[in-house]
Amino acid sequence: MTTTAIAIALVATACSPAGSGGSASSSCEEEYTIGFSHPASEASAVKVVKEAAVAHAKELGCVTVLLDNTSGMNLETQRSTLESWVTQKVDAIVVLPVDPAALENLREKAQGQGTKWLTYVAGNPEEDGTVGFDNQSAGEDMAAYLEQWIAEKHPEGDISAAVTTATPLPSIQPRVLPAIDLLEKAGIDVVSQQDCAAQDCGLQLAEDALRAHPDLRVFIGLNDDAALGALRAFQNAKIDLDETFIAGFDGAEEALVSLQDKTGYTASSAIPSVELGASVVDNALAAITGDGDAGKQTPMFLVTPADSDEIAELLKAYTTFGG
């Protein structure tokens, strides 16, 4: 897949939901305006987060959330939107920058005039706060679950594995690195390690890997989309899905439904969209008012077919916000 596609799909990922709701001032005495810029508006998970942020702001009653329509990781469009928000002197800007360096002077200008600058997922030492989720702990949870599965199903390590990555976005890599380390320690060959975050490349990579390595039984996608493509390849190859470990990240709707219906997906490290959307507002308010944690993270958590209640709860976000 192209780098653009990877970036888009990953950012979609990045915008998925997560965590424990807001902290900051839910009792604001003034009216605040917050701009939320995500450069992959086309991604369904991003839409859910944006809608959740707007809904949470409405709940609070004193916050207006401005959204931008940047899509396809277009830096020019994102910058134009941010410039207009800075000119407008909004109270806070939450942004997932396409290129942090290209927005540095804008950040300085914004902060110089009193606008708080929070980054989404990507960190910046000069920021006033951050909104996001912990890819590292999500990756460790996934690796721990994989370790259990290996111990139960293939303690001899007589299988091979495939993992998808995103080399252009190093901040997202901690999702899969713990699993790669674990596989190496378990003596399981990672026979395919390629960039991919979409269904079509997941399908293609799994097909290729299965032909070269018929003992392939583990496929960990950088996100659920890649893993869902792989699931299709395993189904087409008529491999017993009880003997496979096919998992990804984000809690994409299709993956959650597969877990709910027990149609072969093994696990997803999900980000609760509603909480993540709420944290966009709450963390920004915390930065503005100085009251609360402006860097509160939304935890990702692993769901398996056994977690039917959690899955139902996660799926509710898609129903409510139309992801």
Partner: protein, 325 residues
């Protein structure tokens, strides 16, 4: 045979030879069919887009139109079944192709600007219709994407038949010569009686139909229709294959066979690198180098193009002399 085509074939064979030596799995019937299956939709669209470029026109909207047609087809197939879904995909492709054809062929707007506009609009529309991924498609549609007939994947059969039609039309029918004539000199083509505007419009419709077919094939293969990523970057793959296959950006030359070999070369490259599990960074470098080397085959075309104007000038002078006599 065209020297450029010969060089492209040699490059492809050498590449296949390399991968066969490097991976025992590569040169097996199973893997070769796998490559063909994975790229079945690319073959179809590239053949159509190749003919369009031979006429001197380009379509940059194919990726997003694939998403739009795929999403519409998925919606319809879930409610009304596979056949309705297939018809819907072809219909959407045809409608967009007609729109492109009218704006470019009939009205004379810029092909790149119009199709880039449609690229953006079609993706937006697809995502408006379905913000997320559409799944739960009929089993027979999914079966089309994963099934096989006589040991050959169904998608490969479909691609084979459609590409054969494209080859026949381009190589054995007057339409093929008309395409090249329009690409070489639209005014001269018009003066010889070819209805250039209508012809270009028809070519865009053909591309649209082929994208519609490719869309349903891709949706069937994936078992879902992700509006955000379906066909993303597909236009670049198609254009690369067409140019690599020996069709110049200015049109007037090329063959469907060359385009199909261009698709195959890119497909083989991707498959071989995956089988060898070449790291992404190295993979990018290797892909770039191989494509540039393969594109060196167009050198022969360049030399011929340089000579051609002199011949044209000479024949024009000869004609002028004849008239003056």
């Amino acid at each position: 045979m065209d020297l450029q085509l010969v060089i492209l074939i040699i490059a492809t064979v050498l590449l296949m030879g390399f991968f066969a030596a490097a991976s025992p799995m590569f040169f097996t019937a199973d893997n070769l069919l796998n490559i063909a299956n994975q790229n079945a939709s690319t073959f179809i669209v590239a053949a159509a887009a190749g003919m369009l470029l031979m006429a001197g026109y380009v379509d940059m909207s194919v990726g997003s139109v694939m998403a739009l047609a795929g999403v519409c087809a998925a919606f319809v197939s879930i409610d009304y079944g596979t056949v309705a879904g297939i018809i819907c995909a072809v219909l959407v492709g045809t409608l967009v192709g007609t729109l492109n054809g009218i704006l470019i062929g009939q009205i004379g707007m810029s092909p790149i600007v119009v199709t880039l506009g449609v690229l953006a609009a079609a993706r937006g529309l697809a995502q408006l219709l379905s913000p997320g991924s559409l799944y739960g498609l009929p089993e027979d549609l999914i079966g089309m994407g994963s099934g096989s007939f006589l040991g050959v994947p169904i998608l490969v059969w479909i691609a084979g038949v459609i590409c054969a039609i494209f080859w026949f039309v381009s190589a054995r029918m007057p339409a093929g010569k008309h395409t090249l004539a329009v690409g070489a000199n639209p005014r001269a083509a018009f003066l010889t009686g070819i209805p250039v505007k209508k012809f270009v419009m028809v070519l865009y419709i053909v591309v649209g139909v082929s994208v519609g077919i490719a869309a349903i094939m891709q949706v069937a293969r994936l078992g879902s229709a992700p509006s955000g990523t379906l066909g993303l970057g597909f236009e670049v793959v198609v254009l690369t294959a067409v140019l690599l296959g020996g069709v110049p950006f200015t049109g007037g030359r090329g063959s469907v066979i060359g385009v199909l070999i261009g698709v195959w070369l890119i497909a083989v490259l991707g498959n071989g690198l995956t089988l060898l599990n070449v790291p992404t960074e190295i993979s990018g470098i290797v892909t770039g180098v191989v494509l540039v080397l393969a594109a060196a085959s167009s050198l022969s075309g360049f030399q011929r193009r340089r000579r051609r104007p002199r011949r044209v000038q000479l024949s024009a002078r000869t004609a002028a002399v004849r008239v003056s006599k």
